[in-house]
Point group: C2
Chain length 256, copies 2
């Protein structure tokens, strides 16, 4: 196996450039770090362009059919964005999501800017089988911080990105769009069973009037304690669970 | 009103020392920043020792009966632990919690070390009316990072702290102790209605065998998606909601 040891090697420079959103967009590729996260991407059918391993780490046997290169410690440090580099880094072609299936619903994030919040919410959506995630503006889901916060849960997700000013009408005609709002919405147990789009607004401003008007439903978490509201990650996590619970009621109860 | 402008002033040095846990413990006081958080503490009956305001901020009229001092910009920067100082800082006597009411249940954190997680979980507990929080080891709940993550929700909470090696038997004889576990526990809708202690383990190791054995119940969140587990803050947030939903079912349904 080749050993990549020079920081001047153009491949190193190319891979390093994928730390930046504009280069990820231009070349349609993304860096993934860590054995488990890379495994998850391979299992989900993502196409690896390069898989790099530090000299001292073991080669997982299931990876042998893929394009592998060993890298020196210096190269690993150059390419890693983790505080403690794992020794495993891969470049994958940015996966094309399946076409939007509006009838299946999923998670919708409008201008959610904190990478930790976006990653956490994608992880929760994956945990509760909202397998489509639609982002309007906000954090780049393929940035290191977002990917890290998803803890490997992004690989199985269908992630769709639109500009911040696009309308929610892209999702019309299928599952109802359900806005999570601090007050005045339905409580989770009163939601009609079935799939829906859970629509969350930005950390600072929530959802604007126009987007609110496009949503067929409004959901409010009952919050009896003396707390004004939870942050978008916590409220969204609970809402993913609450929506999942509504759906799973359908499957266990005898409904027509 | 006095103006505190010298960084050498012993009061400034005393207040600055409250950034450290050992001085908070020794003098039984805690620093709170931000107008809303200070208001919350005053409303909850906490006793202020000093309230300091920057020269340019407004004095809330409800504070006039309290011990107020103006501080210079330099003093404000010295005393603040926020990235953008609000201009409001107060030292409060560390409140003595009401005696543990074992029959009322609440949130129990065992060796939860990340201040953000502890703060987030206290905020969720407050939101869903688990108003007692019992900490065994882990992060200092009166550190700036924890207080900040609670977003003001700590003031109404009864917070009890014990050493990491203390037993859960302190909570015996009242509401059942319910351990949140990744697999093998009851699902939320099957929980018997009523108050309980929600027991969460550390980020790295969860709950040990001994503590698990002391819990009368085990709870597992249904998680159908391809996600190994959620982190303790998210799983705990959802569990607070799920436990609250169980309780609120009792009050709306006709039970004997």
């Amino acid at each position: 196996m080749q050993l990549l040891s020079s920081l001047d090697n153009p491949l190193v420079k190319h891979l390093r450039s994928l730390h930046e959103a504009r280069f990820r967009r231009e070349v349609g590729a993304v860096l993934i770090e860590g054995q488990r996260a890379i495994d998850g991407c391979l299992l989900a059918g993502w196409k690896p362009q390069h898989i790099l391993l530090s000299e001292q780490v073991e080669l997982p046997t299931s990876w042998v059919a893929h394009p592998l290169v060993r890298m020196s410690q210096r190269v690993a440090e150059k390419l890693s964005q983790a505080s403690t580099p794992s020794g495993y880094i891969a470049a994958f072609s940015l996966p094309q999501p399946a076409p939007l299936a509006v009838e299946r619903g999923g998670l919708v994030l409008v201008d959610v800017h904190d990478p930790g919040n976006v990653g956490t919410l994608i992880r929760c959506a994956a945990a509760f089988q909202l397998s489509q995630c639609v982002l309007f503006g906000g954090a780049d889901p393929y940035s290191h911080k977002v990917l890290q916060a998803t803890a490997g849960a992004f690989a199985g997700m269908q992630i769709h990105r639109y500009a911040s000013d696009q309308s929610l009408s892209l999702l019309a005609g299928g599952a109802p769009r359900c806005a999570l709002v601090v007050r005045g919405g339905q409580q989770p147990p009163t939601l009609k069973p079935g799939p829906r789009w859970l629509v969350l607004g930005s950390e600072a401003h929530g959802l604007d009037e126009q987007r609110m008007a496009e949503c067929e439903e409004r959901l409010t978490l009952p919050m009896p304690g003396a707390v004004e509201s939870l942050n978008v990650a916590m409220a969204g996590a609970i809402a993913c669970y609450a929506i999942f619970s509504t759906r799973s009621t359908t499957s266990t109860e005898a409904l027509p």
